[in-house]
């Protein structure tokens, strides 16, 4: 029984691997660029799906966590410490191997934190902030939770826009590539396209694996019970607050991973990643995927983001997402894949993933 839930993961892996030659065959290898970017956004969506679909808590501020991850990485890997290299904390960091020297595209020497150090710092910072914000906010319900998370997102937006260290309206550019290990790099240049396609998908599949296991564990059952009837769950001895809070923190960390990696991939990040509209987009993708449907959310995250990033929606980019929200919530609150005509897809998947 237990092993069957991994079948979709294996199928997905095969599809991803098959995707590459298919794209070559139809002479569209460059679609991989947008698929890679979308995969990083999918990380946010997977986290949000756990939070919204399984724990039943809405968040209109997830773009904020994405930005904390992305901006922390960007700031640490682009701040030039060369002028202060003899000061005590800097020499300490250096001896710990946290700093790297490099040259930027215009030949300027830079001394910055290594991407690995920045990445770890970004995740720790995000987890810390999510915990601190979650402590009071996750006790709220309904409209109040929605408003509070929206407010959190707005504060991050204001900080990013107001603080010179975050580049204000211009954001941060010249973010270096992220050398992972063994020659693998998160790098947006064309020669790295194929490699990055697999790096991004590996991150997504790892997140999916974690999420699926979580959903099928004791935690997942507790979360579902909270979603259906929080009082009942509470009276049965489920520590509802703790479960909700840890899901909140986990989903924030997922978002931060996406943010940090995408920032290295794009080489830049700007305040447009932190707008309310961006958070609403993530919510709409989870909704169209079917709230408590990780695979649905993943498929929709890739499909919609690829279309949006390729500019296929033209000047109707935001309108499309508004329309999706309304149509899905009115006619198919269980998500697109659970609509009667398309149900066969989801039953095929759910037979396996819930097994």
């Amino acid at each position: 029984m237990g092993g069957r839930r991994y079948i979709p993961i294996i199928v997905a892996t095969l599809l991803i691997v098959a995707g590459q030659p298919v794209l070559w065959a139809i002479a569209r290898p460059y679609y991989m660029t947008q698929i890679t970017m979308s995969a990083y956004y999918a990380l946010v969506v997977i986290g949000l799906c756990l939070l919204m679909g399984y724990a039943g808590q809405v968040s209109l501020g997830h773009a904020g966590f994405f930005a904390i991850g992305g901006y922390t990485s960007a700031v640490l890997t682009t701040c030039n410490l060369l002028a202060r290299q003899n000061e005590v904390p800097i020499t300490c960091f250096r001896s710990l191997g946290l700093l790297v020297e490099r040259q930027d595209l215009y030949g300027q020497a830079m001394l910055c934190f290594s991407p690995w150090a920045a990445f770890v710092a970004a995740l720790l910072l995000t987890a810390g902030i999510a915990f601190l914000i979650g402590l009071p906010v996750i006790r709220l319900k309904g409209h109040y939770l929605a408003m509070a998370t929206l407010g959190f997102g707005l504060i991050i937006y204001r900080i990013v826009l107001g603080a010179p260290v975050f580049g204000q309206a211009d954001g941060i550019s010249n973010v270096p590539p992220f050398e992972l290990f063994a020659g693998l790099e998160v790098n947006g240049r064309p020669p790295y396209r194929v490699q990055n396609y697999y790096i991004a998908w590996a991150a997504v599949l790892a997140a999916m694996l974690l999420a699926i296991n979580l959903v099928h564990s004791r935690v997942g059952r507790a979360l579902r019970s909270i979603h259906q009837n929080e009082e009942a769950a509470h009276s049965l001895g489920v520590n509802t607050f703790q479960y909700k809070l840890s899901t909140f923190v986990l989903s924030a960390v997922f978002a931060a991973v996406g943010g940090a990696l995408l920032t290295h991939y794009n080489g830049s990040i700007g305040p447009s990643e932190v707008t309310v509209m961006k958070s609403v987009r993530y919510v709409s993708i989870v909704a169209v995927g079917g709230m408590a449907n990780l695979w649905g959310a993943l498929v929709m995250a890739i499909a919609l983001n690829v279309l949006s990033l390729r500019g296929n929606f033209g000047t109707y980019d935001d309108a499309v997402f508004g329309m999706i929200l309304i149509v899905i919530m009115l006619f198919a609150p269980q998500g697109l894949l659970r609509m009667p005509n398309l149900r066969w897809i989801s039953t095929w998947f759910s037979r396996r993933s819930y097994g």
Partner: protein, 386 residues
């Protein structure tokens, strides 16, 4: 039945004719692909929308008059919505897939900075419509820009101030890329010019009211206010200054170059002084002014076609395409490197923003002469005479 078969025949014949016509067209030279990324929607749509309209209009005109060396320009316009991540994706698309010769835009400096390195590494010419000096400093060999220099605008303002004996100013800027870049230049240049900035504040694009911020300026007894902004909220500055009786001269940046802002400011906008390209006062230029013919043509074309007032923002896109077209003609080819070299060596080229003289060190091409000090008189732009 009969009518129907007649119809079918008609369609077939028409199809055949069209098909033949299509075959004939194929013998023409393939079009030159040029990409454009503008924020037609989103928070910077007041920049992107006129730029898009202008770019499409100009390419149409060029094609109607035979294109470049007999080849038509195919302009591929993409809407970034003002989002830098979308600009990154669209730039990669234009470079890798469409293999465009050059990219016009983006509209904002943040987006331009996000794709500067991508264009440089992809060896694709980028002619930005954003003003910030970081775009061309450090110089990236493939990256150019058409708006005037912020530092020159600041110098013009300071010069006008010194003539009036003003030395103590309050600065307010919008919190977008344009305002930021201006603020940086003011802070950098003011000490050299003998001007003291006693207070510097920023405001949001969607500010409902600015009397609070202006009260803060008033409290510092400033002799003049510099408002450096490109967003619509700047029309509030003039109004609110009058409302709280902050009766000192108001200096604006070249971001004020849109008659809409004057209309929105109403009576209060009268007397505002700002440096700007000559587009807004095209009609009152001397007939022998080198820019006159071009400016009047652009103004008439744009206003005739879209039934709205021309703005300097659209002019930046106009210049970008004109410059590119000229460089292609000069290079006599559409090889990216040759066009780039031609562009870099373009001198004395008349555009809407001024006279462009590019060089290997200067990818902005404009000098302080591109600016004219303008003022608002009876709700209209006029040349400022001290």
């Amino acid at each position: 039945m009969k009518a129907r078969s007649m119809g079918v025949c008609g369609v077939l014949v028409a199809g055949l004719i069209l098909g033949l016509a299509g075959c004939e067209k194929k013998s023409e030279a393939p079009p030159i692909k040029v990409g454009a990324i503008f924020s037609v929607t989103g928070p910077a749509s007041f920049l992107g929308a006129p730029e898009e309209k202008t770019a499409k209009m100009l390419c149409e005109k060029i094609n109607q008059s035979g294109g470049i060396d007999g080849r038509k320009i195919e302009l591929i316009v993409k809407d970034s919505g003002g989002k830098s991540e979308n600009a990154v994706s669209l730039a990669k698309q234009l470079i890798d897939e469409d293999k465009v010769l050059a990219i016009i835009g983006p509209s904002t400096s943040g987006e331009t900075m996000a794709i500067k390195n991508i264009c440089q590494e992809g060896k694709t010419i980028l002619i930005s419509c954003a003003a910030a000096e970081t775009i061309v400093n450090p110089v990236a060999s493939y990256v150019f820009k058409t708006p005037q220099k912020d530092s020159d605008a600041a110098k013009c303002i300071f010069k006008a101030m010194k003539q009036k004996g003003i030395s103590k100013v309050g600065v307010i800027t919008s919190n977008d890329g344009f305002g930021m870049a201006g603020k940086a230049q003011i802070d950098k240049l003011a000490p050299d010019e003998g001007i003291t900035v006693v207070i510097s504040e920023t405001y949001d694009k969607q500010e409902a009211d600015l009397t609070g911020v202006l009260t803060k300026l008033k409290g510092q007894n400033v002799q003049a206010v510099i408002n450096w902004s490109i967003v619509p909220a700047q029309a509030l500055v003039a109004k609110n200054m009058k409302q709280i009786a902050l009766n000192v001269p108001l200096y604006q940046s070249h971001g004020f170059g849109n008659i809409k802002y004057v209309q929105a400011g109403g009576e209060a906008a009268n007397g505002t002084v700002f440096p700007c390209g000559r587009l807004l006062v095209a009609d009152s230029l001397a007939n022998d002014h080198p820019q006159k013919a071009l400016l009047v043509k652009y103004k008439e074309d744009y206003e005739g076609k879209f039934n709205e007032d021309v703005s300097t923002f659209g002019g930046h896109a106009y210049d970008a395409i004109l410059i590119l077209a000229e460089a292609m003609k000069k290079a006599g080819s559409t090889d990216r490197d040759k066009v780039r070299d031609a562009l870099e060596n373009l001198t004395g080229f008349v555009g809407t923003a001024g006279i462009f003289n590019f060089s290997a060190q200067d990818h902005g091409g404009l000098t302080i002469d591109a600016f004219e000090m303008l003022t608002v008189k009876d709700g209209k732009f006029a040349v400022y005479k001290n």
